[in-house]
């Protein structure tokens, strides 16, 4: 994360080092990804101990600002901060001044007055994390903005792939489903390119983004060649009424749903959750031993620990670093 995007830092007086944000996978280099995966790995081994809390970020404040519903991402960011001993403050749009029509800028500046070290933001609108980075002094981590980016999801998926399949370079992943509305697909595509994973996007015609530079097909048979099938959720909440992306979910399930007979024996399946069982994924697939969904959730915790650690300290956590932290 050395060349993290600097947002209007040139307008600030000289002094503190540039803030490190994680707004998009596009901000990362291959080395950054490698370092984050290694850091997560170190934390992973620490989580096997009886006492799982590390004092690493003691005294730091992590604010979680969630404008969209979330189970996995919000709980894992909160737990990640707590496992690293940071103070956390979680704000959901429902029940806050957002209900009273407060603008994102005002809410961000209000929370900014508590001098948070990190603001983690999820928002339905593209560009919201950029705005928070512009109007506060905190390090900003994008926990999903509209259809744009979900960088920690892509990182945890890389982590999962490395745990399960070893070497990343040369792998082939088929990403199937509602690519058009998927921030996960966009983040994955960039992350896969960074580490040398071949990616094939499979979707109905109207759900393949026009102009995207990627291998794209409407033919579900294309998943056969892949090492891993990554299933996307049909995001009905992001589809405008009457848009007719597909004639019906029934027809979608019949044509593009991931069923046991569409998979090779032992072919791994991933899904970012929440799943629509019976739509994009057959329940028999979702519950099979080849589905890596729970591995992904656990990876989410350690990756978010690594990201918080990385934006705040600017470096990898080595064995020595961890030992010193434990002494402290």
């Amino acid at each position: 994360m050395t060349s993290i995007r600097l947002v209007r830092d040139d307008l600030r007086p000289p002094g503190p080092p540039p803030r490190r944000h994680l707004l998009s996978i596009a901000d990362l280099t291959r080395d950054d990804v490698q370092r984050l995966l290694d850091t997560a790995r170190t934390f992973d081994s620490a989580l096997d101990r009886e006492v799982k809390k590390l004092p690493t970020l003691k005294g730091r404040l992590v604010v979680n600002l969630f404008y969209e519903s979330s189970t996995r991402t919000s709980s894992s960011f909160e737990l990640a901060a707590k496992r690293l001993s940071a103070d956390t403050l979680t704000l959901k749009s429902a029940g806050s001044s957002v209900d009273k029509g407060e603008s994102l800028k005002d809410t961000a500046q209000t929370l900014g007055a508590y001098d948070p070290d990190v603001i983690v933001i999820r928002h339905p609108q593209i560009g919201a994390p950029e705005l928070v980075a512009r109007v506060t002094d905190a390090h900003v981590v994008n926990a999903g903005d509209g259809k744009h980016q979900h960088p920690t999801q892509a990182l945890l998926d890389l982590y999962t792939l490395r745990q399960e399949l070893g070497e990343l370079e040369g792998l082939h992943v088929a990403v199937v489903g509602d690519v058009l509305h998927s921030r996960v697909a966009r983040s994955l595509l960039q992350a896969f390119e960074l580490v040398g994973i071949r990616c094939t996007l499979v979707a109905p015609p109207a759900l393949l983004p026009r102009g995207l530079r990627a291998e794209m097909t409407t033919d579900i048979e294309a998943i056969r060649d892949a090492d891993v099938v990554y299933v996307l959720r049909m995001q009905e909440e992001r589809m405008e009424a009457g848009a007719n992306y597909v004639p019906s979910l029934r027809e979608y399930a019949a044509r593009w749903g991931i069923t046991p007979d569409r998979l090779r024996p032992g072919q791994k399946v991933m899904h970012p959750g929440p799943m629509n069982r019976g739509v994009e994924i057959d329940p028999r697939v979702a519950d099979s031993v080849d589905a890596l969904v729970e591995t992904q959730v656990r990876a989410g915790l350690v990756i978010r620990m690594a990201v918080l650690y990385d934006v705040l300290t600017g470096g990898p956590v080595g064995v020595r670093g961890l030992a010193a932290a434990e002494v402290a």
């Binding site: 603008s103 994102l104 800028k105 928002h123 609108q125 593209i126 560009g127 919201a128 950029e130 705005l131 109007v135 903005d145 509209g146 259809k147 744009h148 980016q149 509305h181 998927s182 921030r183 966009r186 983004p209 026009r210 102009g211 995207l212 530079r213 405008e240």
Partner: protein, 433 residues
């Protein structure tokens, strides 16, 4: 049809400028004498009499600019712009005349509303301003405005800018009825069932960022429809803010077939492409959106050869708090009056992509021709509507220096070369750097 506050014509001698009027075919080092606001002499070593002498050595003197497409936000959003502030911004940009669009609140769709605007312009306007009236009442696309009365009250033309006329039948009726007024229809071409929810051009950048796309075909399909209807009715039309290569091709075909179709293009579509959207800066969000490099090339070629006759800023002021939101939530539109010449000079003329004389023609005579207005010119007997340009001056765009009430410029902090040194409008100095 144009209105401004009264100013006494001034006596000025401009000395030693490079006088450039492409239509009058003048490009020479000359003096220009203005007597009581009228150009009285153009020649070498003119007497100064008791006139104010402006030393214009090293500067270019050209016909002042005419902007055919400005949003003055009055009535309704005077916090964003007023006739006074918008025309002051125009003066600072070298304009002697601007045309305001009717998508205000309330919409300019009655002679009564037009009357109050004309009255305000007579008190406040720093340079001449003309008003377009709506094609349909409330721009709702359901019922024609009383075009004859509006034309009598001074409407320059008719437009539902910002809201396309969705129904082809309604567009046909508008073309038929407008013919009795002698005023043109100025059309915002957008097929909403293709563009709706779209924030940026449907292309690689939108696909990568996840922004809902607003495809080129959403514009060109409507351009084709409106040109077909205009051809069928034998009526002239003006196409607002073209953005795509397909639209340019359709315009060329119609003009080749003899249709009286004209078009305008904005500075941002001539300089930027969809790549600018990667910044997610709400100040590069506009309608129509920034398009591909190929589209930009087609627009520039059409501007150069005259298929596109004029440059329009589509100056669209927005309150700071409305633009200081996530990209996706931001309204469309950017300001442009105070930077148009400088940015086009910097990015098109200096690199050799567009001759200075063509830029001057498209910023001045072009729009006047489209709407049948008096053409600003350097000619004895003409009212002095002139701009002095300092082509070498470098400056940084700073919101604090804007005369506009809004600061949603896509050029904040940019370094530009070329500046307006003085604007003379209707025979009086309206701006001086």
């Amino acid at each position: 049809m144009l209105h401004a506050k009264h100013r006494n014509g001034e006596d000025i001698v401009i000395r030693g400028a490079r006088v450039l009027d492409p239509v009058e075919q003048i490009d020479a080092m000359l003096d220009v004498r203005i007597d009581g606001g009228t150009v009285a002499a153009v020649g070498e070593r003119l007497d100064t009499n008791a006139h104010r002498v402006v030393d214009a050595t090293g500067l270019v003197l050209a016909p002042a600019f005419v902007d055919p497409h400005v949003h003055l936000r009055t009535p309704g959003r005077e916090d964003e712009e007023t006739i006074g502030s918008g025309t002051a911004a125009a003066a600072a940009g070298g304009y002697c005349a601007i045309l305001a669009m009717p998508n205000t609140d309330p919409v300019l769709d009655s002679a009564a509303t037009l009357g109050t605007l004309v009255e305000t312009a007579g008190r406040e306007a720093e340079v001449a301003v003309g008003f377009l009236a709506a094609i349909t009442r409330g721009q709702r696309g359901e019922k024609l405005t009383e075009m004859a009365e509006l034309a009598d009250a001074g409407a320059v033309a008719f437009s539902d800018d910002g809201v396309p006329v969705a129904s082809a039948g309604m567009m046909r009726r508008a073309l038929q009825y407008a013919s009795i007024t002698g005023r043109k229809l100025a059309l915002h071409c957008e097929e909403r069932s293709l563009s709706h929810d779209g924030h940026v051009h449907e292309g690689t950048v939108a696909a990568e960022l996840g922004l809902h796309g607003y495809p080129s075909v959403a514009e060109s399909v409507m351009v084709e429809r409106d040109l077909a209807l205009a051809g069928y009715e034998g009526q002239p039309v003006h196409l607002l803010h073209l953005s795509s290569a397909e639209s340019v091709a359709a315009l060329r075909r119609a003009r080749d077939e003899g249709l009286a179709a004209s078009a305008e293009v904005t500075p941002h579509h001539l300089v930027l492409t969809e790549e600018a959207v990667r910044s997610l800066d709400p100040n590069v969000k506009m309608n129509p959106p920034l398009r591909s490099a190929e589209d930009r090339t087609a627009l520039l070629a059409a501007l150069k050869d005259g298929a596109i006759e004029c440059i329009a800023t589509d100056h669209a002021p927005h309150a700071l708090h409305e633009k200081d939101v996530p990209f996706e939530a931001a309204p469309f539109g950017v300001t442009g009056l105070e930077t148009a010449f400088a940015v086009l000079h910097t990015h098109l003329v200096r690199p050799g992509a567009l001759p200075l004389s063509t830029l001057v023609e498209r910023m001045s005579a072009g729009a006047a021709r489209v709407y049948g207005l008096d053409r600003p010119r350097v000619a004895v007997g003409a009212a002095a509507n002139l701009v002095l340009l300092d082509l070498d001056r470098e400056w940084t765009v700073d919101a604090r220096s804007f005369r506009s009430r809004s600061r949603n410029s896509w050029l904040l902090g940019e370094r530009l070369t070329g500046a307006v040194a003085m604007t003379i409008a209707r025979g009086a100095v309206a701006f001086e750097a």
